[in-house]
Symmetry: C2
Subunit: 407 residues, 2 copies
């Protein structure tokens, strides 16, 4: 497997475009489209929130129906959630506009939205945006990058990656983009992430791979504990790599899963590190746990705790807060088994040793916690399972961004 | 029932004292003691966090053993959590010091601590503090008030209340104090709360009343979603009111439960409104829900959401965040049944009507959200149950307080 330049346009046959539709943001792009020259097998995972945005419900129908997918239209600024029938009508109007412009079936067009909940989308602007973008679809790396910028809301950096891997002598490409950065506590998948690949694969195997990989990547990040109404993760596979179709599990399937895991983990970490107001990536690695489920629960509880996150922001090695979060997570354990360490490129320091606080070098701890990526490493000494979760620090800027997001 | 002046010294036979033990804070009181002239029946609820502070384990033993309780010693500054054997030794040394000074059994002395986790208590200072306080125990209102001030950490106001009620012609008094204000997301009970009453009541009935009342009072508040290692709620009943002992359920028991509910609700609301960095009390009332459990889940999810809390801070009627929090809470419902309103002394405004956003008066909404106590009122139209939860807004000061709490 090799990391290459690019994102959603890296794989064969995929094009992208974006435009300034003026939906809510001014003087920036706020609509993007991904298009495949041929219809794709697809897979997806969606928010577990019972209040699902109209676009999530539209996409679920498409993914679960077995229909092929050929385009995705995304807008930022307004989430199209809690919008009643008018919201569904906006999804349909968007898909129909693509049908009219590109001559593909409306039922093969996925839609996704991110932004304020409870506001109606301006349908005319959406339809006009589709028309503009349809005229300038391109397969260049730049077109993919621009699309990844158009879907940003409070994100401070765009997020994309592409890799190649071999399937029985054929080079397959997998690329993707995503956006964060608030209301992030994915459960089934994350805010918005779109992957494109020219792999030829059976649809049910694609869905299985996606669901499996999501569990330890996008579902292990949190910014604020708020599971969005709009979380959508879509993968399109158009088969143009010319590989022998993957129709059963085996080496080729495993190679794809490995590439998929790499790409999803990269994007998930990027999203966590670019959480609203964040100054650093905050990783919790919990090892030697009784069960995989407990390992996930413990690591997620640590990165989700407001008090842990504030301590990380302040470079304060207040390790009791991490133990406290583990304690209320729901996992059962004995504090007398637990060892805690802080780690970063600046070094490693032990702070808790099986029930008892360790006298540690506060200066070194401060330096470690001052790094751009900080890990809390927890050895439970109770089993063999492990998990890693990613979050970010809690800062003044998080409050600032969210105290008046609508204006 | 009548609200009267005072707190833990209001009921007959209770005394209190406090002192400057210099445990962590300087130039302020940081130890308090409550003492009853006669041994008390007692009841308690404790944190559900599996990482329990040494003092919590000490008190659980006392409460569950059936032993009578005669004194409580509390310190602020250090939590005595994650402190291993040395932490237990500190509890024992404190109780033994009381035994020596006051001639009561060490096994009848409860201890409680609040502050930084993972630091050892200075035992000599504790023992000296007990000696000082033993010499100045008083039953005055002022002594109770001073005790409630000594247990504060990041609290900005002390919290106490007392009421009287009649039991078959006898006047009974119930008083209490508590402290917040961070790491508040009680599950079984809250940070630290102590009630004293001169009621004569059977111990198992007392425990039953306490457990029942906690569910809809202390367990319905949240400041930051972090369930502390130290949550302790203790009730001491010394029987000096001279009422006919309450030995079974009936009118007298119900009257006591009513007073207990009033006192606990008052203290719980005070704690939420004085959450770390808070500028206002944030209440969520959810009515016409399918089950009591769902009603509690929905109302707690709303006040626990960082995004809801930040919107309340910014007086931003961004109602989608509240719906989003309800959606990921775990309760099942149809968004097309739901109505949402914001309420305060400044008025009432509907923002969501059964699946569709309402065009509302933004000026009025801003005014309502600018009040010191803000309620979001949710009508689910799906059943008959209801619940109310209390929290506070998320502010810059919350981050400031917690980014470097130890220094």
């Amino acid at each position: 497997m090799k990391v290459i330049e690019g994102g959603v346009c890296a794989a064969k046959g995929f094009k992208a475009a974006c435009c300034e539709a003026n939906i809510k943001y001014k003087n920036r792009t706020d609509m993007a489209m991904i298009y495949s020259e041929v219809p794709c097998e697809c897979a997806g995972t969606f928010t577990s929130n019972v209040v699902k945005a109209a676009c999530v419900q539209w996409d679920q129908k498409l993914v679960y129906s077995g229909e092929k997918m050929q385009a995705v239209v995304v807008n930022s600024g307004i989430a199209n959630a809690c919008t009643g029938q008018e919201g569904f009508d906006a999804c349909e109007a968007t898909a129909k506009a693509v049908e009219k412009e590109l001559g593909i079936k409306a039922s093969s067009v996925a839609v996704a939205s991110t932004g304020v909940i409870g506001m109606q989308l301006p349908v005319e602007k959406l339809v006009n945006g589709v028309s503009v973008m349809s005229g300038k679809l391109e397969g260049s790396i730049e077109a993919g990058t621009n699309a990844s910028k158009a879907i940003m809301t409070t994100d401070t950096v765009h997020k994309e990656i592409a890799v190649t891997f071999e399937v029985a002598g054929k080079t397959v490409t997998l690329g993707g983009m995503c956006k964060g950065s608030g209301m992030i506590h994915p459960n089934m998948c994350t805010m918005l992430a779109f992957l494109t690949t020219d792999l030829d694969i059976d649809r049910s195997l694609l869905q299985e791979a996606v669901s499996r990989v999501v569990t330890d990547t996008f579902n292990m990040i949190t910014v604020d504990g708020d599971t969005s109404t709009n979380d959508t993760f879509l993968v399109m596979a158009n088969g143009l790599a010319g590989n022998e179709k993957i129709a059963k599990k085996g080496e080729a399937y495993d190679d794809f899963c490995e590439a998929l895991f790499y790409v999803c983990r990269y994007l998930a970490r990027k999203m966590a590190g670019d959480g609203e107001g964040a100054t650093k990536l905050f990783e919790a690695k919990v090892v030697n746990v009784r069960s995989k489920e407990d390992a996930r629960t413990l690591s997620r509880a640590i990165v989700a705790s407001n008090l842990s996150k504030a301590a990380i922001y302040g470079c304060d090695a207040n390790f009791g807060r991490f133990l406290c979060a583990m304690g209320y997570s729901g996992a059962q354990f004995d504090q007398n088994d637990v060892e805690l360490f802080f780690e970063s490129e600046a070094g490693r320091v032990q702070v808790f040793d099986k029930g008892t606080p360790v006298v540690f070098d506060e200066e070194l701890a401060k330096k470690i916690l001052g790094s751009g990526e900080v890990t809390i490493y927890v050895d439970m000494h109770e089993g063999t399972e492990e998990a890693t979760a990613w979050g970010c620090d809690l800062t003044y800027d998080y409050v600032k961004i969210n105290a008046d997001y609508r204006s």
